[in-house]
Amino acid sequence: MGHWLIMPVLLPMAAAILMLLTAHMGRTVKRGISLLAMLGLVLVAVVLLNATLSGDYQVYAVGNWVAPFGIVLVLDRLSALMVLLTSVLALFSLLYACNGQDRDGRHFHVLFHMQLMGLNGAFLTGDLFNLFVFFEILLIASYGLLLHGGGPMRSRAGLHYVILNLAGSGLFLIAVGTLYGVLGTLNMADLAVKVAQANPEQLRLIHISALLLMVVFGLKAALLPLYFWLPNAYGVASAPVAALFAIMTKVGVYSIIRVFMLVFGIEAGALANLAQPWLLPLGLVTLALGAFGVLASRCLRKQVAYLVVVSVGTLIAGVGLLSVESMAASLYYLMHSTLITGGLFLLADIIVRQRGDVGSELRTGPTVTQPLLLSTMFFIGALAVVGLPPLSGFIGKLLLLQSAAQQPGVAWFWSVILIASFFALIALSRTGSTLFLKTDDTAITGVRMEKVSLFAVTALLLSSPLLAIYGDAVSGFTTATAEQLMQPMQYIEGVLGPQQAPTAAMTEGG
């Protein structure tokens, strides 16, 4: 593999720096660099995903420092999947942005690529402190992106978002510091080994820091009771940014999966499966409240933002079931929900632009310029996100429901997911009829959607039928991913080499 593994971090960084240097050369140059780098990133992601098909772990020792001492990047199926998903979503968001919205702020492309760098780094790193650093990189870029376009609403939502995340970073550092103080390591594989061997008197501190980590990741993932920032922030962000942010909550979900499957996973001794009692109930309540939010929204963009909350709740509940089948189904649902909510954010923007002064509000308004096209797209997107056959949302939810059939909490799981889907169905039917049928006599003409926008939105929405058609192959891959996640020992041996006697004596002195 050589240096391919660090490319998802280096490529966006190089592109961002290059765009800063060529800032005076005009927008076309910037867009060219940005799109080229983006295409390169998709290519790299495909190569990386291909390398994981054999089931091996690829480890890249940054600066050639060996595993528990230096920082390593680790590529397994899950990280490759997340990197590919990010780059595909980002490619179409960027295409959409290149159609004009990147003009609203000077350094849109730079921030966009910095955000990608942070996202990819967070998915690849095998070190807890490095995860913190990449979190900060993606966050500071997202602060800039959220404010992209300006205006009082964005300032206010941005202020809340920044303050919340700074407080979250503080908690993250406390958790990391406690873990290091107790165990003397921050490498995730090494942490997993040490947690399994921890003394009884160390357990309580480790337990506290693990739960603190869950709070931090829950904040990123927008898990109850930490999701209240999301609808506002996502609802006011400009469309390409909101579409990219669809993956941001999944960073939190990814971190929960990674840390609580590996470090506090099934082989973690006394602390095994530490997160499980929390994840399922929290996920279900988040899902339920998200569904109420979807139903209650009087604003199209906020409604889509609440759909993100719904998807996070579903995912976390699925992860909390803790079986290979439910993990595989969750990962399938993760791909589907990320791409579809991203597409819906873009579509919502197009619709809002064609509704004149009424904009995003869900009330009687003028007829849009392209009613047939937009309503068809909205119909497809809504079908997919609600989870009606024959699209991918249906398959994802079906797999989730099936995987829960043998589990203890099945009654709750089934009823909450099905009722929430029903709520979403009602809400989106009402939205669709308000947008396209309950129109007044006026019509907005002349605001047609450009071909590039059409292409970007269609591509994202088309992912749903594609995921359904290739459902067998995709769910085969996610099942393999889930099986890999359920064997933390393989990850540990992939990073640290074959495990014999504990390496504790070597690292204890630091």
Binding site: V133, Y143, G158, L159, L166, S169, G170, L173, G177
Partner: protein, 109 residues
């Protein structure tokens, strides 16, 4: 030294949280800064508190301090500094946009 450091961390965090709950942007900024000071001290202390110990390997060092938390704290300080600078600018921007310094601003249009 342990008592001193832990009292200091507790005091800084308590002041930070109090100021953050005041819901005025500048108070929140200062509160977050105090919180991050407390967190940085905590992170620093996670490598154990020793005095007169070398952080780098030298032939005549009697004892060693753990250099890793020092590196971590340095990173955290730099990140915290950047974030605070950004937050100050954002707070000023929000004051301009929203017309007052409450974190929720006015209803805004």
């Amino acid at each position: 030294m342990e008592v001193l450091i832990s009292t200091a961390i507790g005091f800084l965090v308590a002041c930070g949280i109090y100021l953050m709950l005041r819901a005025r942007t500048m108070d929140v900024v200062i509160g977050l800064t105090l919180l991050s000071y407390g967190v940085n001290l905590f992170l620093f202390a996670s490598g154990r508190l020793v005095s007169n110990a070398a952080a780098l390997i030298s032939p005549d060092a009697a004892a060693y301090a753990d250099p890793l938390p020092q590196a971590l704290v340095l990173t955290a300080i730099v990140i915290g500094f950047g974030m605070t600078a950004f937050l100050v600018v954002l707070a000023i921007r929000a004051f301009g946009d929203l017309g007052n310094d409450h974190v929720d601003g006015k209803a805004g249009k």
